[in-house]
C-alpha cells in the first residue's frame, strides 16, 4: 500500500514535472559488503521526486538526464550520483559518517563547513572508560577541556572547564545539553553506554545560540538511535575490582620512629624554657618531662602507651631512641594496646565493580529505535559505599506522515549512591583524613587483655574511638572517632529516580522549510537517608540520629524552531534557523531529622522519638530566548554564518533582564580551490574564523557553590526567636546586576593530510569576559561585606592543537595515535576602579595584568641557627618604600608576596590504539604542565609536633628536621610549642605537573568465520584498566583535584581493572 502511494506520488510529481528530457533509471543500492539495502530513499536532486528501494535493493524512476540522484538511508552517508540508466550505488556506513556530520546547537552540521570550534568524542572512546559519569571520561580527550576530579566517590561529577576560567563569582561550568535540551540534572543518571557522541562546543560561533548560558562552553550529549535495518542486539558485561588509585604520601609507618620524633618535639619544647621557679630546664629535666608527657594528652603527648618497658625505665632514652628493652604491645590489665595499620585495614581490600548493558536497535523506512537497559554496581573502595544504577532508555522516531516525523527519547534511571558521610576536611568523621594522617601508633580495635579483639554483646566488633569509651587512653588525634566503625554502622544514601523525556515533532511545511517542536523534561527525585548509629561514636550518646530528605529537581524546556534549507544552482546553499526557547527550573528541598532510634537499623523518622527538625524550601528559575541563525555556503568552498539570540533570565531585575548575544563566523575550504587540486597530499584544509558574544547568568552565593536566583534583591531569612519570628537580612542585593558578557574570538585550520596519516586542527582562541559578576568587597562595618556587581574583565587566550594519525593502516592492521594540547593564559584585564588594580582575598591576590590564580603568601627562608622557621620580610625606609629584605621568625610580620600565575600553562592528552588480527589495544594519557599548587596535605604532614598536631602522622621528610647534629637542612626543628614551623608559605608550593595513565584496554574479537557458524554477530573479550597510574611531583599528591591546593583529604580516585565480554547478535 505504502509503495503504491509512493509510486502514485512519484507519478503525480512527474506529471507536474517541468518539461525536461527524462531518462528511465533502474538501479541498485547496496552496502559496502554488497548486501542490498531495502528502503533506501532515492530522490532527484532539487525536486521532491523520488522513490524507495525494494526488497532486493532495486529502484526505478525517471529522472532528467544530466540530473543528480540523492540516495540516503539511516546510518549511511548520503550519496549523490549522476543520472544514468543502471547505477549501482554503494552506501558507506556510519563510522565514517561521524566525521562528516556532527551534532551542534539546535541541529546538526557538516563538519567540513562548520565555522566554529567543536570537538566530538565518540561512543567508543567513552565506552572504554569504566565510569558512571561521562564527565569522568573526558580528561585528556579534547583540546581545550580541563577536568578536575575533586572526589573519587563513584557517581560523582568532575569539574569541567572549557578554555579557561572566566568568572570570579559566577559559575564556570559548561552548559550540558542532552539530546538537544539543556540539562541541569545529575550527569550520573545517564548511562555512558547509551551515549552516541559527546560534542564539546568551544567558541561563540558554536554556542552563542545558547545565549545566556553558553559563555563557559557547551557539552552536547547525544544518545544512541537505531541505524541498521536489521535489529541489532548488543550485550556487554564487565566484571572487575576497585582499589585505591592513589597511595598515601610517604609517611612514617614505624611506631618506634614516630614515638621518637614525638618525644623529640616534646623534649625540644621544654629544653631551655623556665620552670615555675624560674630555673632554666636542662637536658635531664627535659628528658624526664618528655617521657612523662609522651603517653598523655598534654604538652605534645600522643595519649597512648603501646610499648611495654621494664618497671622504672623510661620509654625513650637520653639518646632519643626507643628503649631497646621495649616490646611492642602494652596491657593495663584490662585492655591490650598495639597499633593497627589503618590504611591497610580500610583500603587494601578489593571491591567489586560490575556492569551489564544490553541494547536493541534497529529500524525500517518509517521507524528507528534504540532500547537499552543497564545495571552498574560499583562498590567504590570502602565498605558500604558505592553506586548502584539501573537505567533504561527507549529512543525512537517515527515518520508518521510524509510531512510529519515524531520523535521520543525516554529514559528512566534509578540509582542508589551510598557513601561515607564525610569525604573532605579535617573532620573526625572523614575516614580519608583519619586513615591517611593518623600516626602509626594507634589501635583501630579495642583488644581484651589477652590481645584478642573485643566483640560486644551484640556481636559487633568494638573499635577504639580513642576517647576512653573503650580502653583507657585518649587519642590526641581525632579522639572520639573511628571511621571503620562508622562505615560499618553509619549510613548515607541517596536514592534517586531520574526521568528524562524528549519529545519532538518535525513538520515539513514546504520544500526546504521545516518546523520543529521539542519538549524536554527532566525530573529528579532524590531521597536522602542518613543514619548516625545508636551504638558507637559521637551520636550514640543521643541514641543515634536519623535524617531523611527529599530533593526534587524539575526542568521543562520548550523549543519551537523553523529550519529553512535551500540550494540554488547547486552552488548556493542557504540554511536559516529561527526559534524560540523557554526553560523553567524548580528545585524543592525537604529535610527532617530525629534522635533516639527505636530499631537501630531502620532509617526512618517514625522510628525515632526525640528532637524533631524539619525544613523545606523551593527555588524557581526561568529563562526565555528568541534565536536565529543563518549560514550561507558557496560551492562548499566559502561559508559564512551568523547567529543571534535575545535572552532573558529570571535572575535579574525586570529592567535588566534581557540581553543580546550572537556571533559571526566564516570558513574557507581551501582544498576546494583549483590551485590546491594538485597538492594531492592535502586531502582537506579549512581555514575558519569566528567572533561572538555570549552571556552567563549563573551568579552564585559567596560560598562559590550555591546558585543565587535572586541576586537583584536584598534577601532576608526568618528564624525562630523565643517562639516568635525574627528576621535578618542575609544577603545584600543589587538591582542593577545583569549579564556577564564574554567576547570570544576563534581562528584556525582543520586539516587532513596524506590520507589520514595526519589530521586534526590548530586553533587560537581568546575569550574576554566583561561585566563580570563579582562580589565587590565593601567594608564589613556596613553590616554586610559584599555587594554583587558587574565589574571588571578577564581574558583567557590560548592555542589548541589536536593531531590524529593513522600511522599504519592495512586490512589487518591499524595503528593510530592522537595527541592534543592546550596552551592557556589567564589574565585579569580590569578590576573595579575602587580597587586600584588590586584585590587581596585571603591567600589569593587579584591584580590587573596577572592571572586570576595568583597566590598571595609568605616566602620561606629556611631555618635560623636554632632551627626555627624563617620567613622573608620587606624592609622599608622612612617613607614606606621597600629597600630590602630580611628574615624573621615572626610569621605574622613577614611580608606576603604574589606567587605569579599557578595555573598550568599546557594541558592535554595523548594515546594510541592498535588493531591487528582481531586484537585491539589502546592506551590513553592526560597531562598538565607548567603550573604549581600548594601541597597543603604535605604541609600538614610536616608539623613540628605541637600539642594540637600531636598524633598526626609525619611525612618521612621530617627525618631531615633540624637538630644540633643536623644543621644543614631547611626543615625546622621539631618543637611541641612552636607556632609557625609549617605555616603556609612558598615552601609548600610544588609543581602541579602530572602525567595520568587514564586507561589501558586490550581486547580480542573472534574472527568472523568462527562466529558465522553461531547465531552471534560478533564477540569481543577484553581487559580494561582505569586510573592506572599517576606521576606527579610528590608521591601521594594529586594535582587532578584542584588548581590551587592538594588539600581537602578527599575520597581517593579509584583504580578499576575489569574483564569484559561484548556480544552482538
Amino acid at each position: 500500500m505504502k509503495r503504491k502511494l509512493v509510486m502514485f506520488l512519484s507519478l503525480f510529481l512527474i506529471g507536474m514535472g517541468i518539461a525536461m528530457a527524462q531518462t528511465q533509471v533502474r538501479g541498485t543500492v547496496v552496502d559496502e559488503d554488497g548486501e542490498s539495502i531495502i528502503g533506501a530513499t532515492v530522490q532527484v536532486k532539487g525536486t521532491t521526486q523520488g522513490t524507495v528501494t525494494d526488497l532486493d535493493g532495486n529502484f526505478a524512476l525517471s529522472a532528467p538526464a544530466g540530473g543528480t540522484l540523492v540516495i540516503s538511508y539511516v546510518g549511511y552517508a548520503t550519496q549523490e550520483v549522476a543520472v544514468s540508466a543502471n547505477p549501482k550505488v554503494i552506501l558507506i556506513t556510519d563510522s565514517e559518517l561521524l566525521e562528516e556530520v556532527m551534532v551542534v546547537a539546535y541541529g546538526t552540521a557538516k563538519r567540513s563547513s562548520f565555522t566554529g570550534s567543536a570537538a566530538v568524542i565518540d561512543s567508543e572512546k567513552i565506552s572504554k572508560r569504566q565510569v558512571a559519569n561521562v564527565t569522568n571520561a573526558l580528561s585528556g580527550q579534547v583540546a581545550g577541556v580541563q577536568v578536575t576530579r575533586t572526589n573519587g566517590q563513584p557517581g560523582t561529577t568532575s569539574t569541567i572547564r572549557i578554555r579557561g576560567i572566566g568568572s570570579m563569582a559566577a559559575g564556570n561550568s559548561p552548559l550540558f545539553v542532552v539530546d538537544g535540551v539543556p540539562f541541569d540534572g545529575d550527569i550520573s543518571s545517564i548511562n555512558t553506554a547509551d551515549i552516541e557522541s559527546t560534542t564539546v562546543l568551544k567558541d561563540a560561533a558554536s554556542n552563542a545560540l545558547y545565549g545566556a548560558r553558553g559563555a563557559n562552553g557547551v557539552i552536547l550529549i547525544t544518545t544512541k538511535s537505531g541505524k541498521s535495518r536489521e535489529p541489532k542486539i548488543t550485550v556487554d558485561v564487565k566484571w572487575g575490582s576497585n582499589r585505591r588509585g592513589l597511595s598515601n604520601y610517604d609517611v612514617i609507618t614505624d611506631p618506634a620512629l614516630y614515638l621518637e620524633k614525638a618525644y623529640q618535639a616534646i623534649y625540644n619544647g621544654f629544653l631551655g624554657t623556665k620552670d615555675d621557679n624560674d630555673v632554666v630546664r636542662g637536658p635531664e629535666e627535659s628528658y624526664q618531662l618528655a617521657n612523662r608527657y609522651l603517653p598523655t594528652n598534654e604538652n605534645g603527648g600522643v595519649g597512648y602507651q603501646i610499648y611495654t618497658v621494664p618497671q622504672g625505665q623510661s620509654m625513650i632514652g637520653m639518646d632519643g631512641k626507643l628503649n631497646p628493652k621495649a616490646t611492642l604491645g602494652y596491657s593495663d590489665g584490662k585492655f591490650y594496646y598495639r597499633p593497627d595499620n589503618w590504611y591497610d585495614e580500610l583500603f587494601k581490600k578489593d571491591n567489586l565493580r560490575q556492569e551489564y548493558n544490553v541494547s536493541v536497535s534497529g529500524g525500517s523506512d518509517k521507524i528507528n529505535y534504540f532500547a537499552s537497559g543497564g545495571y552498574l554496581d560499583d562498590a567504590g573502595i570502602v565498605a558500604n559505599s558505592g553506586f548502584k544504577r539501573y537505567s533504561t532508555r527507549l529512543n525512537a522516531d517515527y515518520q508518521a506522515k510524509e510531512w510529519l516525523k515524531l520523535r521520543a527519547n525516554v529514559s528512566y534511571t534509578n540509582y542508589d549512591m551510598a557513601s561515607p558521610a564525610t569525604q573532605e576536611g579535617t573532620s573526625s568523621a572523614n575516614l580519608f583524613y583519619v586513615a591517611d594522617y593518623l600516626a602509626p601508633i594507634y589501635p583501630m580495635y579495642v583488644r581484651n587483655a589477652d590481645g584478642t579483639i573485643k566483640i560486644d554483646s551484640r556481636g559487633y566488633t568494638v573499635y577504639d574511638f580513642g576517647d576512653r569509651t573503650g580502653g583507657n587512653f585518649n587519642r590526641t588525634f581525632m579522639s572520639g572517632s573511628n571511621p571503620a566503625s562508622m562505615i560499618e554502622l553509619d549510613k548515607r544514601q541517596y536514592l534517586a529516580d531520574v526521568f528524562g523525556g524528549r519529545w519532538g515533532l518535525d513538520i515539513d511545511l514546504m520544500e526546504g522549510l521545516k518546523f520543529t517542536y521539542n519538549l524536554g523534561t527532566d525530573f529528579d527525585n532524590t531521597r536522602y537517608s542518613r543514619l548516625y548509629n545508636a551504638f558507637y561514636g559521637q551520636y550514640s550518646r543521643v541514641g543515634g540520629i536519623v535524617y531523611k530528605g527529599a530533593y526534587r529537581t524539575s526542568s521543562i524546556n520548550h523549543q519551537q524552531l523553523l529550519n529553512y534549507h535551500k540550494i540554488l544552482n547547486d552552488v548556493h546553499s542557504l540554511d536559516i534557523l529561527l526559534g524560540h526557547e523557554s526553560y523553567d527550573y524548580q528545585y524543592q528541598y525537604l529535610m527532617g531529622s530525629k534522635e533516639k532510634l527505636f530499631n537501630p537499623e531502620i532509617v526512618e523518622l517514625d522510628n525515632a522519638i526525640l528532637n524533631p527538625t524539619a525544613e523545606s524550601y523551593t527555588d524557581n528559575y526561568a529563562t526565555e530566548g528568541w534565536l536565529g541563525r543563518a549560514q550561507y555556503e558557496y560551492d562548499q568552498k566559502y561559508i559564512v554564518s551568523g547567529s543571534f539570540r535575545r535572552d532573558a533570565s529570571s535572575r535579574f531585575h525586570p529592567d535588566n533582564r534581557w540581553g543580546n548575544f550572537g556571533s559571526v563566523g566564516a570558513a574557507w575550504v581551501m582544498t576546494q580551490e583549483d590551485f590546491m587540486k594538485d597538492l594531492d597530499w592535502v586531502n582537506f584544509l579549512k581555514y575558519k574564523i569566528s567572533y561572538g558574544i555570549q552571556g552567563n547568568d549563573a551568579l552564585l552565593y559567596n560560598d562559590g557553590e550555591t546558585n543565587n536566583y535572586y541576586p537583584y534583591s536584598d534577601q532576608f531569612t526568618v528564624k525562630e526567636n523565643n517562639k516568635d519570628f525574627a528576621t535578618t537580612m542575609t544577603y545584600k542585593g543589587n538591582k542593577d546586576i545583569t549579564w556577564e558578557t564574554s567576547y570570544s574570538f576563534n581562528t584556525g585550520f582543520d586539516f587532513n593530510l596524506w590520507n589520514n596519516k595526519l589530521s586534526g586542527g590548530i586553533e587560537y582562541f581568546s575569550r574576554k569576559t566583561t561585566d563580570m559578576l563579582y562580589y565587590m568587597p565593601v567594608p564589613p562595618s556596613n553590616g554586610y561585606a559584599t555587594v554583587p556587581m558587574n565589574i571588571g574583565s578577564v581574558l583567557n587566550q590560548g592555542v589548541e592543537i589536536d593531531l590524529r594519525s593513522d600511522v599504519f593502516k592495512t586490512r589487518d592492521l591499524v595503528w593510530n595515535v592522537f595527541v592534543n594540547g592546550t596552551f592557556l593564559k589567564n589574565e585579569i584585564v580590569e578590576l573595579a576602579p575602587e580597587l586600584n588594580g588590586e584585590l587581596v582575598s585571603g591567600s589569593r591576590i587579584y591584580k590587573e595584568g596577572k592571572s586570576m590564580y595568583n597566590l598571595y603568601i609568605r616566602n620561606y627562608a629556611g631555618v635560623d641557627e636554632n632551627g626555627v622557621a624563617l620567613y622573608y620580610k620587606d624592609t622599608t625606609d622612612a617613607h614606606g618604600n621597600v629597600i630590602g629584605q630580611e628574615t624573621t621568625t615572626e610569621y605574622n610580620q613577614a611580608t606576603k608576596y604574589a606567587t605569579g600565575n599557578i595555573l598550568p600553562t599546557l594541558y592535554g592528552g595523548f594515546g594510541s590504539s592498535l588493531n591487528a588480527h582481531g586484537f585491539d589495544f589502546s592506551v590513553s594519557f592526560a597531562y598538565q604542565l607548567g603550573g604549581r599548587m600548594l601541597d597543603s596535605n604535605y604541609q600538614s604532614l610536616m608539623h613540628s609536633g605541637t600539642t594540637n598536631n600531636a598524633g598526626t602522622n609525619w611525612h618521612k621528610d621530617i627525618l631531615n628536621a633540624w637538630t644540633a647534629e643536623q644543621k644543614d637542612t631547611k626543615v625546622p626543628r621539631l618543637n611541641a610549642v612552636d607556632l609557625y614551623a609549617n605555616s603556609t608559605s612558598d615552601r609548600f608550593l610544588k609543581s602541579s605537573d602530572y602525567l595520568d595513565l587514564t586507561n589501558i584496554t586490550l581486547g580480542y574479537t573472534l574472527p568472523g568465520n568462527l562466529i558465522q557458524k553461531t547465531a552471534l554477530g560478533s564477540l569481543r573479550v577484553y581487559l580494561t584498566a582505569d586510573n592506572v597510574a599517576l606521576w606527579s611531583a610528590r608521591k601521594g599528591m594529586d594535582p587532578r583535584r584542584s588548581y590551587t591546593s592538594s588539600g581537602g583529604y578527599r575520597y581517593s580516585v579509584i583504580r578499576t581493572v575489569s574483564g569484559g565480554i561484548s556480544i552482538q547478535f
Partner: protein, 555 residues
C-alpha cells in the same frame, strides 16, 4: 483531482503554519517574575507581606535578639563551618580565653585555642572577622529599625522599637570599642572603631576612619540616654528583650569604664530594681542556664528550636558545660579556672565548688599524684550505661584535670542532656551590685561600698565573708576578685583586665606548656587587629592606622 490535492496540500500547509505559530505564541508567555519560597525572601515579598500583615515588623525588632544567637555567620566567608561561630556567647568565650581566668587544653578540639594563644589577633584572622561581623551585622539590624521608624514617633510601640534598637546598638559599640582599643581612661583620643549609624551611606562607609574612643563613648551614651527615655513605660513581654532597666545596666557599664562613678552607681541601682541574686542554694548546683532565674536582668532565651541548638555542638554548653551530653566540653576541651584564683576562694564560699578540686593520692608507681576530682555541686554517684558498661561522672564526661568548671548546668539540669538549649545570661543583678560597690568606693564612699559588697557576698555566696579592704583602691581590687569568680565564663574577664590595667599572669599555674607566660598591663597583643576585609575596602583605614602586628609572646 489533481487540483483538489493541490488545494488540500496548501490547506495542510496553512494548518501546519498555524500550528507552528500557535506553538510560538503559547511559548511566548514564559513567566520570568519568580520568587523564592522559604529559603529566603526578597524585598518585594517583604513589602507585600507588610501590607497584609503589618505586625510582622516586630520580627525585625526580634532580629536584635536572634542576632546574638546565630550560627554559621561566617561559613561562606571562611569556606567551611567554624564551630565557634555561634553568636555573642562565642565572643564571650574568646574574650575569656584571651585572659588569665579561663583556660583550656591547647588541642585541636579547643575551638578557642587561637584566642588563648593570641594567634587570632592578626588582620586576616577568622576570629577578628567573626567578632567584627558579629557586632556590625547586629547593629545593622538596629540601624535598619532606626532608619524605618521615625525619630519623632509618638506611637508607644514604635518608641519602644527605637529604644530597643538604640540600646542594642550601644551594646555593640560598647563591645567593639573594648575589643579594638584599650580602656577609655587614658586612651580617650586613641583610634577605636568606625562609626556606622542609620544615616551612614555606603559611600561614607567606604571612607570611614576609626573614630576615637571618646567619639564612640559619646555615641554610646547618647544612644543610651535616648533609649532610656524612649523605653520609659515599656513593659517587655520577655527577659530576652531590652527594656529601660537593661538600658540603665548598659549605661552603668559604660559609665564604669568612663569612671563616671556616681552615674555608674545610680544606673546600676536602677538596673537592678526588682531583681535578686541567685541564693546560695540556687548556686549549690550547676546553674546559670535558665532566664527565669531572679538574678537575670537580660539574657538570650534559647529555645530547643533555635539553630544553635539544632546544630548540636555550635553553642555555649557544648563548649563550656561539663555535664552536657553533646559537646567538646569537657572531654576534648574543658574550661578550667586559673588555679591560683581558685585557691584564693575561701572554703566557706559556695563558689569554691563551681570548679572541681583535685584529690591527691599515690599513683601505681607510688608517686604523689591527682587520683580523683571532687565538687559538692555534682552528684558523683550518678552513672550511665553505654554499650553495657557502666560509667561514672568522671569517666563518662571525660574529666581530664582539676579546676574544671561545673558552674554552668546542662539544659533542664539533666546530666548528659544532649540538647544544649541553655539560656544565656547577658546581664545579671550580681554584676550590677558589683558595679555599684566599685563605683561607690571609687566615687568617694568606700564605707557604703564595703557594706554593699559584704551584704551581697555574705547573703548570697559566703556567710562568713568579711571584706578586708576599706580604701577605695582596695575595695576596687576586691570587687575585681569578686567579679572574676562571680562572672567567670560570662565574657567579662578580659575587659576587666584592660579597664583596671592589670597584668596577665599565666605562669606557674595550670596553663598548658607554651602559653604559660605573663604579660604586662596593656600588652599590645591584647588588641585584635581590624579585619583585613575592612582595611581593604575602607579607604580611611590602612595598615598604618590599624592596630600594630605584634609578635605572639612565648615563654
Amino acid at each position: 483531482m489533481n487540483l483538489i490535492r493541490i488545494i488540500m496540500r496548501k490547506i495542510n500547509q496553512f494548518y501546519n503554519i498555524l500550528l507552528a505559530a500557535s506553538f510560538i505564541l503559547l511559548a511566548g508567555c514564559a513567566d520570568l517574575d519568580l520568587e523564592p519560597e522559604g529559603s529566603v525572601f526578597t524585598e518585594k515579598q517583604k513589602e507585600e507581606l507588610t501590607k497584609i500583615a503589618p505586625e510582622r515588623l516586630q520580627a525585625e525588632v526580634n532580629g536584635l535578639y536572634s542576632g546574638l544567637i546565630k550560627c554559621e555567620s561566617i561559613t561562606d566567608w571562611f569556606g567551611e563551618e567554624r564551630h565557634y561561630d555561634f553568636g555573642f556567647a562565642a565572643a564571650g568565650i574568646m574574650f575569656d580565653a584571651s585572659g588569665q581566668d579561663m583556660l583550656s587544653e591547647n588541642s585541636g578540639y579547643n575551638w578557642f585555642r587561637n584566642s588563648m594563644r593570641y594567634t587570632d589577633r592578626t588582620a586576616p584572622s577568622d576570629i577578628t572577622y567573626f567578632l567584627w561581623n558579629l557586632f556590625y551585622s547586629h547593629l545593622k539590624t538596629a540601624n535598619n529599625i532606626l532608619f524605618t521608624v521615625p525619630a519623632d514617633t509618638s506611637d508607644p510601640l514604635l518608641k519602644a522599637y527605637r529604644g530597643q534598637a538604640l540600646a542594642s546598638r550601644a551594646f555593640d559599640y560598647l563591645h567593639l570599642v573594648q575589643i579594638y582599643q584599650f580602656t577609655y581612661k587614658g586612651h580617650e583620643s586613641a583610634p577605636a572603631v568606625t562609626i556606622v549609624t542609620e544615616e551612614t551611606t555606603p559611600e561614607q562607609a567606604a571612607n570611614n576612619p576609626r573614630a576615637t574612643v571618646q567619639q564612640v563613648y559619646d555615641l554610646i551614651i547618647k544612644d543610651l540616654d535616648e533609649a532610656i527615655s524612649l523605653l520609659d513605660g515599656f513593659a517587655r513581654p520577655g527577659k530576652e528583650m531590652i527594656d529601660q532597666q537593661v538600658a540603665y545596666g548598659l549605661r552603668a557599664r559604660a559609665n564604669l569604664n568612663m569612671e563616671k562613678w556616681a552615674d555608674a552607681a545610680s544606673d546600676a541601682e536602677k538596673a537592678m530594681e526588682g531583681f535578686t541574686p541567685y541564693t546560695i542554694e540556687d548556686v549549690s548546683k550547676p546553674s546559670f542556664n535558665d532566664i527565669n532565674a531572679s538574678s537575670w536582668i537580660w539574657g538570650s532565651d534559647v529555645s530547643e528550636n533555635n539553630d544553635i541548638v539544632l546544630s548540636g555542638i555550635l553553642n555555649f554548653p557544648a563548649m563550656v558545660c561539663s555535664l552536657t551530653g553533646n559537646g567538646y566540653s569537657p572531654a576534648y576541651a574543658g574550661r578550667y579556672i586559673n588555679k591560683k584564683l581558685w585557691e584564693d576562694i575561701q572554703v566557706s564560699d559556695v563558689r569554691k565548688g563551681w570548679w572541681t578540686e583535685p584529690v591527691w593520692g599515690k599513683d601505681k608507681d607510688g608517686k604523689d599524684s591527682i587520683v580523683n576530682y571532687k565538687t559538692p555541686l555534682v552528684d558523683m554517684t550518678w552513672t550511665t550505661t553505654y554499650n553495657n558498661e557502666e560509667y561514672g561522672v568522671i569517666d563518662w564526661f571525660g574529666w581530664n584535670a582539676p579546676y574544671l568548671n561545673v558552674k554552668f548546668g546542662p539544659y533542664k539540669n539533666e546530666y548528659n542532656n544532649p540538647t544544649n538549649a541553655c539560656d544565656l545570661p547577658l546581664m545579671r543583678v550580681e554584676e550590677m551590685i558589683l558595679i555599684r560597690a566599685e563605683a561607690l568606693a571609687m566615687g568617694g564612699n568606700p564605707a557604703q561600698a564595703k557594706q554593699v559588697l559584704e551584704n551581697f557576698v555574705k547573703t548570697y555566696r559566703n556567710p562568713t565573708y568579711v571584706c578586708a579592704a576599706s580604701d577605695a583602691k582596695g575595695i576596687q581590687d576586691e570587687v575585681w576578685f569578686q567579679r572574676r569568680i562571680e562572672l567567670w565564663g560570662e565574657g567579662f574577664s578580659l575587659f576587666d583586665v584592660k579597664r583596671l590595667k592589670k597584668p596577665i599572669l599565666r605562669s606557674g599555674i595550670n596553663f598548658p606548656e607554651g602559653i604559660s607566660y605573663n604579660l604586662p598591663a596593656e600588652a599590645p597583643i591584647l588588641l585584635w587587629l581590624i579585619p583585613e576585609d575592612e582595611v581593604n575596602a575602607n579607604e580611611a583605614i590602612d595598615e598604618s592606622t590599624n592596630n600594630p602586628v605584634i609578635a605572639v609572646p612565648s615563654v
